[in-house]
Each structure stands twice: as structure tokens, then as C-alpha cells.
């Protein structure tokens, strides 16, 4: 396996969906290729960091408007309740 081939299989490897035979080749290549090892490690950390990232705070005034709009729509949909 060459670095380019490894690159093309990167998603499947990182997501754990790669075919076992290809996975063995992938790992064999990485064992002898430090740059590829580091790239795979960087990609994993990149994903982890984004998953742990902070959500945007919803503005308080908007939240109130949203809930008002939902209650209004709800009453239209369920008249008499």
C-alpha cells in the first residue's frame, strides 16, 4: 500500500468500517510510515475536538420569541385546548 492509497481509505479506517483484509494492509503500511501514523492520529484528534466543542448559546430573547411562536401555532392547530 502506498501513502496515496492509505489516504483514500482514511475515512473507512478512522470510522472502523474498513474491510479486515484492507485494515491489515493499512496497519502494515502505518507501522513503517511515521507521517501516515501522525496524520491518522491528527485526524482522530480533529474529530474528537469538534465533537467536544461548545455549542452556540441560543440568544435569550430569540428563545422567548420562538416559544411564543410555537404556542401560537399550537393553539391554531389545536383550537379549544
Amino acid at each position: 500500500m502506498k501513502c496515496e492509497e492509505l489516504l483514500a481509505m482514511l475515512n473507512e479506517y478512522v470510522d472502523g468500517t474498513v474491510d479486515p483484509a484492507v485494515c491489515a494492509e493499512f496497519e502494515q503500511h502505518m507501522a513503517g510510515c511515521n507521517p501516515c501514523q501522525v496524520v491518522v492520529d491528527n485526524i482522530r484528534k480533529t474529530i474528537t475536538l469538534y465533537q467536544a466543542g461548545r455549542p452556540y448559546e441560543i440568544p435569550v430573547q430569540f428563545r422567548e420569541r420562538l416559544h411564543d411562536a410555537l404556542r401560537k401555532k399550537w393553539r391554531e392547530k389545536h383550537p379549544g385546548k
Binding site: 507521517p35 496524520v39 491528527n42 480533529t46 430569540f62
Partner: protein, 214 residues
């Protein structure tokens, strides 16, 4: 059991109650998911007013179509799909692409052959667990995301941040799975490049010299 705390009641049960006409249940569902929907919209559109519009449209549409929710996907996936559709409409309007899909406009240029090679290769100085507690990191993450094209950003957000499968991501964006895969790879590589340039340890930097023998 009727004396459960609200927080212990599942989304599925809350949906059932809301479908039966319980407004409080629908408001609880909204309160549980509004932050996530708003965050996704902000990251997709990078503009507060548009993110608010998308969030409001999402929950109004959910309210309107609640009876059609059958629980094939989780309630949050269902909501995020609605939000993605609303965000795509805004993106298309911004680009004047009313009738052209994101895919038709860009697909021919996407293939695995043209995936750029990693340039800055180095170990990070700190672990993600350490980094996530630092304030500056959130600005860096947003900056890196902002540098991606829309098509790459949307795919990364749905797949890696929101945890959609490849199939769900393709469905939400109206793209083929093959197209999602190649764009996801490009998105991940571009983000890696940007973050490693900022977070990499220069002392461990590796230069990729040449292709290795098979």
C-alpha cells in the same frame, strides 16, 4: 409510573404525548433540542439572523408535521434533517442557485484522485481533552470550519459533529453516498491541516519525502 421527573422521560415518550395534544411535552422537546438545532444552523450559516430563522422554521415545521413522525430515526435526527433543509434553502438563495442542486454544481470536480496531500505533519502539543478547556480553542475551531467550502462544512457538521451516518448525511443533503465520502475526506484533511498548523509541535514535524515502496 407517572411520577417520573420530566428529565427522565424519553424523547419518544414526549413525542407520543405531544402527538396526543400535550403542548407542555412539545415545549419540553423544544427546550431539549433548540440549542443543538441553533448551533448547527450557526455553524452552517455563520449568521445569527439566518440561524434564528432556521431554528424557528425547524420547530414550527416539526409542530406542523409531528403526526408524520413515526420514529424511524431519532427525534433529534429528524429535527436536524428539517434544519438542514431550511439551511440549504438559505444557502441556495444566497448563491442564486434556486434550481441547481449543490451536487450538480460541484460534483464533477470531486474525486479521490484530487485529494490534497497533508502538508504540515506533526504531533499535537496537547491532547483534545486538555485543549477543549481552553477558550482560544473554540475560536480556532470556528476559524478552521469557516475556511471550508459550504459543501465540505455541511458534510463534516452532519457526519462528524452530529453523528449522522454516511447514508443519513447523503439523504439530508440530497447527495450521493460516494460524493459524501469524498467530501468528508477532504473536509477532515483540511481541518486537520489548519488545526495542526496551530496546534502541532514544530519539534516533531515530519517532512513527507517521497512515496514509499508498496
Amino acid at each position: 409510573m407517572t411520577n417520573l421527573q420530566t428529565s427522565e422521560i424519553s424523547d419518544a415518550e414526549m413525542v407520543r404525548r405531544a402527538q396526543a395534544g400535550d403542548l407542555a411535552a412539545f415545549e419540553t422537546l423544544t427546550a431539549r433540542h433548540e440549542q443543538r438545532v441553533y448551533s448547527l444552523a450557526m455553524r452552517m450559516l455563520r449568521q445569527e439572523q439566518d440561524a434564528e430563522d432556521v431554528t424557528q422554521q425547524t420547530f414550527l415545521s416539526a409542530l406542523e408535521n409531528l403526526d408524520g413522525f413515526r420514529g424511524e430515526a431519532s427525534f433529534s435526527t429528524w429535527l436536524l434533517r428539517i434544519a438542514t433543509h431550511a439551511a440549504l434553502k438559505i444557502i441556495r438563495k444566497r448563491k442564486g442557485l434556486d434550481s441547481v442542486s449543490l451536487e450538480a454544481a460541484t460534483e464533477e470536480r470531486d474525486s479521490f484522485d484530487a485529494v490534497p496531500h497533508p502538508e504540515y505533519i506533526a504531533d499535537w502539543r496537547q491532547s483534545p481533552e486538555e485543549l477543549v478547556h481552553q477558550n482560544e480553542i473554540h475560536r480556532l475551531l470556528d476559524e478552521a470550519l469557516a475556511k471550508l467550502d459550504e459543501k465540505h462544512r455541511l458534510i463534516f457538521l452532519l457526519r462528524d459533529v452530529e453523528g449522522f451516518s454516511i447514508q443519513e448525511t447523503a439523504g439530508a443533503l440530497g447527495l450521493s453516498e460516494a460524493n459524501v465520502k469524498v467530501r468528508l475526506l477532504r473536509a477532515r484533511l483540511q481541518l486537520r491541516e489548519h488545526l495542526t498548523a496551530a496546534l502541532g509541535d514544530p519539534a516533531t514535524r515530519l517532512i513527507r519525502s517521497h512515496d514509499h515502496a508498496p
